[in-house]
Subunit: 158 residues, 2 copies
């Protein structure tokens, strides 16, 4: 094993310990009624969220979004919603609306307040350059949601 590989692996282990990675893994495991992933490691579960630029180019954006990819998008936003709930105690809902062309919206809301609003495009190619980017994006959106939920808590309660 080269020095680079050791370093990468250490970073991944640390990232897997982050709150967002744990929330993501938990969302996958609770949606696993047949226990398909019971013996899979957390790292293996999160691997499909990392899609390199070269891999993305190979995925066609014509036609429908693959159901597995759609499920992955839903899990990503549910994990963000779970993080917001843990921090603020506000229950929230996730809605992912995708057209057949891979365009659409990802929304997280609590009461009448939208905590997270994202437009999606080329959703067929959903994924992040690296584990770091995945966790960073999840944390960023969760923090934006937490700030909204704290600032307009009265609108959450409607």
């Amino acid at each position: 094993m080269s020095a680079t590989e050791i370093t990468t692996s250490t970073i991944v282990t640390e990232l897997l310990e982050s709150d967002f990675a744990k929330a993501l893994v938990q969302q996958i495991r609770v949606n696993d009624p047949y226990g398909t992933y019971r013996h899979w490691s957390d790292e293996l579960l999160l691997k499909p969220f990392v899609v390199s630029r070269a891999q993305k180019r190979e995925i066609s954006v014509d036609g429908d979004v693959d159901p597995t990819t759609k499920g992955r998008i839903l899990v990503f936003y549910r994990a963000i919603a779970a993080r917001i709930e843990q921090q603020t105690g506000q229950l929230s809902q996730v809605v992912v609306d995708l057209s057949h062309e891979g365009f659409g919206w990802a929304l997280i809301f609590s009461g009448r307040l939208l905590l997270v609003v994202r437009t999606l495009r080329d959703a067929q190619r959903f994924g992040f350059d690296s584990f770091e980017k995945l966790i960073a994006e999840g944390d960023k959106l969760a923090n934006m949601g937490i700030e909204m939920a704290t600032r307009y808590s009265d609108v959450c309660k409607l």
Copy 2:
């Protein structure tokens, strides 16, 4: 023509003159790129929104929502959004998210504020008992949205 028929027809004519009916008709006509409905009367355009209880029972709720029905749901909420915009000047977005089983959400939002939130079920059977009920429901939801947009106008601007 019997007296009842004359009365019914007068009521329908009055209802077609209502702001909500006009908004609904406009939404259908702007989404008609090939001019299919150019020679259709407004009444004929709105007729499919009226579905009797007996007709509903005949529509299966197993499987996907018919694309035409889905389009009708979208048009209904877009008309509500248009009414809210006319009254408040707040631009809004409509998201209809339906699962394959006819369950889902209809959302109208402006900025970070949800103006209208509706859960949908048995969406395969979307429709109203009568023209009166269609207009009444559209007006009710539009008024609720207008009240929200007025009360929390700062959240709309986010």
